[in-house]
């Protein structure tokens, strides 16, 4: 599968973008020229210069450094969130789809309920709940989004479950648990990868949205969405302050999207 990926330019581009974001996240201090939170009022809204490669924002903070550290914030919230969503949706969906019967019915009803909840509402109410605001955001994203993912996983499991090779497994005496672990999950794994990498880009966007509204992060934290808040008032004079964070979001999310979609084309050729 890896080889097939490497043959597709789209996948390669996507993977490179993903790697860039992850590298920046890990080694942010190495890349950033300045302290992202250091306020330098005297030089606020400066044009790009040697000290501040992309200029400064309305509080005199280095824009480039803020953008770089924002990667850290975004990814450190989105990765755990998608991880938790993955764990919950795979466990729950596999269990319900496989067991069938009452468990499945309950699952369907529960998921209908959760799907009618605006994800955004969940985020707002849970923000103040925990000590760590970041944790609240993670929890609220997980609660809001697990249903959608779980439904898709359930569909995959149902499809696999009915395939002939599974039936033969069962007939030759395989235990159910073994079937799930050794056959079903490995076979739907590529599809799950597609689901969660595109899901991750969605979470990155969600986080930026919440930051934009001021939820879940300390005031003045460096996060792409949060950076748009201050830039909002300066839309006439300094439109680039709006463009930069957006482009970063674009880069990060697009990387995962490109990778996910390329992977999807491989797993599910459909055409030709």
């Amino acid at each position: 599968m890896l080889k097939k990926l490497l043959h597709r330019p789209q996948a390669v581009v996507g993977m490179l973008m993903m790697l860039t974001v992850l590298t920046v996240m890990a080694a942010a201090p190495c890349f950033a020229p300045n302290d992202p939170n250091k306020i330098d009022i005297l030089h606020k809204l400066a044009a790009p210069c040697e000290q501040y490669p992309l200029g400064t924002d309305e509080m005199g903070r280095c824009i480039l450094s803020r953008l770089i550290f924002a990667a850290r914030v975004s990814m450190s919230i989105s990765l755990p969130a998608i991880g938790a969503i993955a764990a919950i949706s795979v466990l729950l969906a596999t269990f319900c789809a496989y067991t069938g019967g009452i468990a499945d019915r309950i699952f369907v009803i529960l998921s209908n309920i959760f799907m009618a909840l605006p994800p955004f509402l969940v985020a707002m109410t849970l923000v103040g709940l925990f000590e760590s605001k970041a944790f609240s955001i993670i929890i609220s994203i997980v609660i809001a989004m697990w249903v959608w993912n779980a439904q898709v996983v359930r569909t995959y499991v149902l499809r696999e479950k009915n395939k002939p090779y599974i039936v033969t497994c069962r007939m030759s005496g395989c235990s159910e648990l073994r079937i799930i672990l050794r056959h079903i999950i490995p076979n739907i794994f590529p599809h799950l990868l597609v689901l969660y990498s595109t899901g991750l880009s969605g979470v990155i966007i969600m986080i930026s949205g919440y930051a934009f509204l001021g939820l879940g992060l300390e005031a003045g934290a460096a996060e792409w969405g949060a950076m748009l808040v201050g830039a909002n008032k300066l839309i006439f004079s300094h439109p680039e302050l709006i463009a930069y964070p957006g482009l970063c979001i674009l880069f990060a999310a697009a990387g995962f999207n490109l990778f996910g979609e390329a992977l999807r084309d491989i797993c599910d050729p459909g055409e030709d």
Partner: protein
């Protein structure tokens, strides 16, 4: 008929579950409504004053009784008065729902106008330049928040070329840019789905047999559309619901006094009554629109199975 009844029952169950959950969520927050109101009233309320306010709002009664009381009133349309402004919530809600609803409707139209032709184009010129361009554009548009697109649209069309205003919701013209901003990312995702449904349709046996019988391409296109439209319609219904529910950010960008902003204000000031009312209405709209989409789908394709798996089926490539 039986099918419709069971769907309606599901609707009721969902509404019940949603409101219960919201009630639960709002009661979780550490700063409770009584405290918030007391602070607004007395600036530095004493504990006695807080308790007094709590009693006044009925928040000292057990959870169940609060919920049942509220629900009973709500079904009659009485949402009570906002803790924040003291005015009847139903009035404020109808006022703020107007622009949000209009915006959601407009973005629905835009989304359909974008998704359908571009989906058909991509499917018809599969693998070609047009297809790849639409695809790439699509990925880009799916990778940005819709409010950022709103900003960009604003910069281009309202600041540099003063075509549209940048705030308010006085006329439909004001809602064009925000609706477009919402429509673009949604359409990007929809195009993929519609395109793959169309391709699946054209590759299927029934198209082969129809061609073998000499049926005209135009008629065949009609058949394929009936085949491919239902998943798209389901998605359109869902995105309408999402727009209503998640409009806060766009409303902030364009200064639209809609439901989203109302919800945000209510939440930050712990105006739980308003929050509950908003959620009820939003969830009701969401569920109703999905139901409507299902009805439309049943008309187009009466042999479809139930909606439960529809979203999942389509996302599951």
């Amino acid at each position: 008929m039986k099918h419709i009844l069971s769907r309606l029952l599901m609707l009721a169950v969902v509404m019940f579950g949603v409101t219960l959950l919201t009630f639960f969520y709002t009661s979780l927050s550490p700063v409770d409504a009584a405290q918030a109101l007391a602070v607004r009233r007395y600036t530095r309320p004493t504990d006695e004053q807080i308790t007094e306010v709590r009693h006044e709002l009925g928040l000292d009664r057990p959870f169940a009784s609060q919920y049942i009381n509220w629900l009973g009133n709500a079904v009659r349309g009485d949402f009570g008065d906002s803790y924040n402004t003291g005015k009847p919530i139903i009035e404020e809600l109808s006022a703020s729902m107007r622009p949000t609803f209009a915006m959601a409707l407009m973005s629905l139209v835009f989304t359909a106008l974008l998704s359908i032709p571009l989906g058909v184009l991509s499917a018809a010129r599969r693998g070609g330049f047009a297809d790849k361009t639409v695809y790439l554009f699509g990925i880009v548009c799916m990778s940005v928040p819709n409010y950022w697109i709103g900003f960009m649209l604003m910069i281009v069309f309202a600041v540099n070329i003063p075509l549209f205003s940048i705030m308010g919701a006085d006329s439909l013209k004001d809602l064009v840019l925000p609706s477009l901003a919402i429509a673009i990312p949604t359409a990007a995702a929809n195009i993929r789905v519609f395109r793959s449904s169309l391709i699946e349709g054209y590759n299927s046996d029934f198209v082969l047999y129809a061609r073998a019988r000499g049926i005209s391409e135009a008629r065949i296109a009609g058949m394929v559309n009936r085949f491919a439209l239902p998943p798209l319609i389901t998605l359109l219904g869902q995105s309408f619901g999402f727009t209503i529910a998640g409009s806060a950010m766009i409303e902030f960008v364009f200064s639209i006094p809609g439901v989203g902003s109302m919800l945000v204000t209510a939440l930050s000031s712990r105006d739980t009554v308003t929050v509950n009312a908003c959620v009820l209405v939003i969830a009701a709209i969401f569920v109703a629109v999905i139901f409507l989409a299902e009805v439309v789908n049943t008309l187009i394709d009466p042999t479809r199975r139930s909606k439960e798996g529809a979203y999942a089926e389509k996302t599951a490539a």
